[in-house]
Structure formats: structure tokens, C-alpha cells
């Protein structure tokens, strides 16, 4: 049972600046989440040695695991700081580090642009606007709706991207990463989205597309929303292969 909370936080003033650890001690209170701890430090930014320090820069918005902005590495594992309770972490020092796969902005804030670029690459959207009324969407079977719902929960927090050994936001051309793949599958499930099947599958078949997945399956393991990303990737594999074979043998 912990009596105080010891947080070891990686600090970095700006991109390219040297990173350093700072330790903070907080009195224990039950049911604290990590954002509450960071707020506590922000109220009184004094490190464990009693030195006054700059407040820790971190991102957060919804505080209920919906926005995906407070992703960070807690004891090395990417997760949402808002929904991670101190009580559920092993006793001892808790280390907080920024996600390593994205360019660092300051302290625990990273720039997740590479993930959003990936979403653009796989056409992670559905064209629903036109110069004329497109009419109502086609009806969908409840089972398909249920499957799609899982993927609709993605909040682009980037935990899966951080956990993936093949993705790096510093070299995003190597692999687009699991989150955009999950969303590509999501939009291919949608009847309106399927109208762009060709373009979307072509985008997935390019360099750094779905073939760069190495099946480490960390993505699905760390996803805070428990999205079955590995199922999406496997089913996309079937789709891109069918397209490839159809072209190989069909012209």
C-alpha cells in the first residue's frame, strides 16, 4: 500500500533540447488518476528535492477517455493518463514519458501529425457532401453496424502507434501504422465508404502500407478502446490480396 505517490517524469523544454528526469512526491489519496496528479503538480510545481520547477506541460481535454489527447507512456506502456488510476499501477515509482514515436513538443506533449497524415493517406473519411442531395445512406445489417461500432470508437490517441514496433512518426513512410489501418477498414465497412474501395485499397497497397505490418499485435493489446485492430488488418489483408490477385490474373 503506498503512502505517497512518487512520479518520475521526463522533462524536455523544446524539440532537440536534452531530456532529463524530475521526481515529484505527492501525498497519497485513493482513486487518483494520473491527470489529477499532474494537476496537483501544476498547482505546486516543486520537485522531490524541494526545488521550484516549471510546471509540466501535458495535453488533456475530456478527462473521460474519449478525446485521446492525454496519451503518454506510463512505466513504459502507452495509455491514457486520465483513465489510468494510481491504485491500479504497481507500487513504487511511476514513470511518465512522452510518446516516443511522435515528434516531441515539450515535456509530455507530442505532435501526432504523422498519424493524421496517415489517416489522410488511407482516405480515412467518407465523402458525404456533394453539389446535390446525395440522398439517405443505404441500410445496413445490424451485425455489420455492430462490427463497425468497434472501430468507430477510435479517438486517434496514438497508443497503438506507439506500441507498434514497425511504426515511427519520425519515418512515417515506412509504415502508416495501425490506427489508420483500423480506420481504413472502418470506412470500407461502410456502404458509402465502399464506393471508394478501389482508391482506399490502392492506398493501403503502397509502400509503407499494410504489407509493412509485422503482426506483433501490440496495437490491439494496448488500445484503450479495445478496438480489434488486428482483425481489421487481417481482413484488409484479404481484401488487398484479392485485388492484387485479380489484377495479376485478370488484367
Amino acid at each position: 500500500m503506498r503512502r505517497e505517490i512518487v512520479l518520475k517524469i521526463q522533462r524536455q523544454e523544446r524539440p532537440g533540447a536534452p531530456a532529463a528526469w524530475q521526481e515529484f512526491r505527492l501525498p497519497y489519496r485513493p482513486r487518483l488518476n494520473l491527470i489529477a496528479c499532474l494537476q496537483e503538480i501544476a498547482r505546486r510545481p516543486v520537485d522531490a528535492a524541494g526545488r521550484a520547477v516549471t510546471p509540466i506541460a501535458y495535453e488533456s481535454a475530456c478527462l473521460e477517455e474519449v478525446c485521446g489527447s492525454c496519451s503518454m507512456r506510463v512505466n513504459g506502456v502507452p495509455m491514457q493518463a486520465c483513465s489510468t488510476l494510481v491504485d491500479n499501477l504497481p507500487d513504487g515509482t511511476i514513470t511518465l514519458e512522452p510518446l516516443s514515436k511522435f515528434p516531441l513538443v515539450r515535456d509530455l506533449i507530442v505532435d501526432r501529425t504523422p498519424m493524421f497524415e496517415g489517416l489522410k493517406r488511407v482516405r480515412g473519411w467518407i465523402p458525404i457532401e456533394g453539389t446535390y442531395d446525395l440522398g439517405p445512406a443505404p441500410r445496413r445489417a445490424p451485425a455489420e453496424q455492430g462490427e463497425a461500432y468497434d472501430y468507430s470508437r477510435c479517438m486517434t490517441c496514438g497508443c497503438c502507434m506507439e506500441a507498434c514496433p514497425n511504426f515511427s512518426g519520425h519515418a512515417p513512410e515506412r509504415f502508416v501504422g495501425p490506427a489508420p489501418l483500423g480506420q481504413a477498414y472502418y470506412f470500407l465497412l461502410n456502404p458509402t465508404g465502399r464506393m471508394e474501395e478501389g482508391e482506399r485499397l490502392e492506398a493501403l497497397m503502397g509502400r509503407g502500407g499494410i504489407t509493412a505490418c509485422g503482426n506483433a499485435q501490440n496495437c490491439a493489446a494496448v488500445c484503450p478502446k479495445e478496438i480489434p485492430l488486428t482483425d481489421a488488418i487481417a481482413r484488409l489483408n484479404r481484401q488487398v490480396n484479392r485485388r492484387w490477385l485479380a489484377r495479376l490474373f485478370g488484367g
Binding site: 514496433p165 503502397g206 509485422g214 503482426n215 499485435q217
Partner: protein
């Protein structure tokens, strides 16, 4: 490298395919042939001679074995190079298999050339491949070489078994978590079967001999000296 998207896709899929066809099939053949060592020198050398007598052997060796393995390995190096392992932070089963697949691949990158150069091309280094059984027996007497071969056999077995699982996902055969879990077990059992039979064949070259549940040849020597030259059943292919 300036590859078009289509070429990139094809290369990556061929990397996956070559691991099974033809390399995996060759591995199976190789393991089966090795297992004949359980029947003694004559049985083993007879099979080796049969393989040497295959028509188009040169083409088979070049295009059925060398080119596919070299291609699989070259692209494999690229795949390993692009990976950033994180097993310490995420000690998960599948993540461990991911890393192990790449580690065994790199190990085989060194073991296979060593193995091929000292057996298939042993004559380049003054050895004789006339009696391959004797050559292997001689080599494997060195405990260090034996350990190296055990490592090579285990690496190849795991890489193939676990690779089959990855192959099934890459080719869109396993499309759900439940199916993947089921077949992951099957793949690891295949790896285990290859590992055990591979080591058994290595033991067949040693003084104790391997475990031979099926008598391959009634005429083969049994007991303490399974490698002693036994009379070949048909008179051909005996130790020369």
C-alpha cells in the same frame, strides 16, 4: 529505391510466399532426408545419392533453393532493419514471437551460409562429400559445432512454424483473433515437431544415435552404433 506501389506490394508478398514455397517445402524435404540418418550411414547416403541424381539438379538448387532463400533473406534484412523492438516495455506473447522471428532470421542468415559452405561445398575447403554421413559425423563430434547445429535447427524450426502463422495472416486466411490464437498454437506445434525431429536427426550422427520410433530399415545397425556402415538393402548407394 524507386519502386512503384505495385512493385512494393508484390515484393513484400513474394517475401512472405517464398518462406513457404519453395523454402518451407525444401525444409520439409531436408528434414526428411536428414531423418534417414536414423537408419544409419547406408540409408542416409543412399538418399543423398538419390537427391544428387535428380534431373535438373543444378536448376533446382539455384532456382528452387538458393534464389528464393536469398530473396527471402534480403528482404528480411530490410524488414528487420525497419523494426524497433520494444519487448522490454511490452512483454507480450505475440510481441516476443515477432522479435524471435526476426532474431532467428538473422541467426539463420549466418548459419545457413556456414552450413552450406561446409557441406554442399566442403570440397572447396579440402573436404570430401563422397560419404556425407561420415562428413557430418566428423563435424558433429565437435561439441561446439553440434551446439551450433542445434541452434540452427531450432532457429529454422521456429522461423518456419511461426512464419507459417504470419503467412496465414498476410495472405488473409486468418481473419479473427480467435482463429489466429487457434492457429498460433498449431504453428508453434509445427515448430516444435520440426525442432525435435531435427535434433533427433543430429543425434543420429552421434555416438548415441537418435531416437528411432520407426525402424527405417531392418538391415540397419541398431543399438550403440547406428551409424556403422550397414549393408544397403538394394546394393546401391552404399557408403563409397
Amino acid at each position: 529505391m524507386a519502386l512503384t506501389d505495385q512493385q512494393y506490394f508484390t515484393l513484400r508478398r513474394l517475401q512472405s510466399l517464398t518462406g513457404v514455397l519453395p523454402v518451407g517445402v525444401f525444409l520439409l524435404e531436408h528434414w526428411l532426408t536428414n531423418a534417414f540418418a536414423l537408419g544409419g550411414a547406408a540409408a542416409y547416403n543412399e538418399k543423398v545419392d538419390f537427391l544428387r541424381s535428380l534431373p535438373y539438379l543444378f536448376l533446382l538448387e539455384i532456382f528452387g533453393i538458393f534464389v528464393p532463400i536469398a530473396f527471402h533473406a534480403a528482404l528480411g534484412c530490410w524488414i528487420v532493419w525497419e523494426a524497433k523492438f520494444n519487448n522490454r516495455a511490452l512483454p507480450l506473447r505475440q510481441n516476443a514471437l515477432f522479435t524471435l522471428q526476426r532474431v532467428t532470421g538473422v541467426l539463420l542468415l549466418f548459419f545457413i551460409p556456414y552450413h552450406v559452405l561446409t557441406t554442399r561445398f566442403a570440397e572447396w575447403f579440402g573436404g570430401s562429400t563422397h560419404d556425407l554421413f561420415a562428413l557430418m559425423q566428423d563435424k558433429l563430434q565437435n561439441p561446439l559445432t553440434f551446439a551450433l547445429y542445434v541452434a540452427g535447427v531450432l532457429a529454422a524450426s521456429f522461423h518456419f512454424g511461426n512464419g507459417l502463422w504470419g503467412f496465414a495472416i498476410h495472405w488473409g486466411l486468418l481473419t479473427s483473433k480467435a482463429a489466429q490464437r487457434r492457429w498460433s498454437l498449431a504453428a508453434l506445434l509445427i515448430a516444435l515437431a520440426f525442432g525435435l525431429t531435427g535434433i533427433n536427426s543430429l543425434l543420429a550422427f552421434g555416438p548415441l544415435g537418435g531416437l528411432s520410433p520407426l525402424r527405417l530399415q531392418p538391415a540397419a545397425a541398431t543399438g550403440g552404433a547406428p551409424h556403422a556402415a550397414a549393408p544397403a538393402p538394394s546394393g546401391q548407394g552404399a557408403t563409397r
